[in-house]
Symmetry: C2
Subunit: 155 residues, 2 copies
């Protein structure tokens, strides 16, 4: 581990880490996508059918370039807005870490393949993590958002 701002952080800390892909998007479709978990991680799916919804973190590999990862300001034009917006204030795929997040419905599990609805990932996108959707923690209906987020695509 290397030192970074150790005075402020109080601990020695590396400025980066390694993610290990646990699977891949076999078929990319919002209506019905297929996620294949690599065999060596498949045991981690045990009991997953108890949940109707999951949070999928995936690697937006088409945006994994120096240029895209340096992007900090964008115009969310899909939402018809011309307001310069920080990447941490929108769901732009161009961001320092190209990690996409989707809440999906789990339709089917067959061996190591999950069929899900609502995954906005490209075919071939690596999967970083799968978490169960827990409404007590993850669902907050009464929040404040800017007007532009209520129009156009959901993310």
């Amino acid at each position: 581990m290397q030192v970074r701002d150790s005075l402020l952080e109080g601990t020695k800390m590396s400025a980066k880490a390694e993610v290990h892909f646990i699977g891949t998007v076999l078929k990319g479709s919002e209506e019905q996508a297929e996620v294949r978990v690599f065999p060596e991680f498949c045991a981690g799916l045990k009991q997953i059918t108890g949940f109707s919804h999951l949070i999928i973190l995936y690697w937006m590999h088409l945006r994994d370039s120096k240029k895209e990862r340096k992007t900090l300001l964008v115009f969310p034009r899909k939402h018809a807005i011309n307001l310069e917006t920080g990447v941490f204030a929108c769901r732009s795929p161009s961001r320092p870490n190209p990690i996409g997040l989707c809440v999906v419905e789990l339709l089917k599990v067959e061996e190591c393949v999950l069929t899900v609805k609502g995954l906005d990932a490209s075919e071939g996108s690596p999967i970083v993590d799968i978490k169960p959707y827990l409404p007590r923690a993850d669902c907050i209906p009464d929040v404040r958002v800017p007007e532009w987020t209520t129009q156009g695509p959901t993310t």
Copy 2:
């Protein structure tokens, strides 16, 4: 990029990638935590005050070891359950990629420091990403979960 299951995936794909930490948890407290975004990423916060809630992805650095990252099965004992559960079917901090996810309330932004409520991260945990919470995409109240998730801590 290295080959991995290229026949199945149809594309050449590395099995890992690099995350660049964008900040750190200055003060870890569920009631009121402070997240410092490193100065070089601070521009990405533009317009963030339009949102009352954020999704924070952080690196659970205390679980970033070979052993913890090999863990695929756990017993969610905090939920008083003795059922062997896959790490992708619970929110265990031991998992192949130690990425934590919390929906937090944004209380205050001062320069590059966010004060938030509901962050279940340790002091010194690196921050991987910050995303606005969009209820149209992220809030699904009517889901099915196992009984044990309705008791104990929310995650």
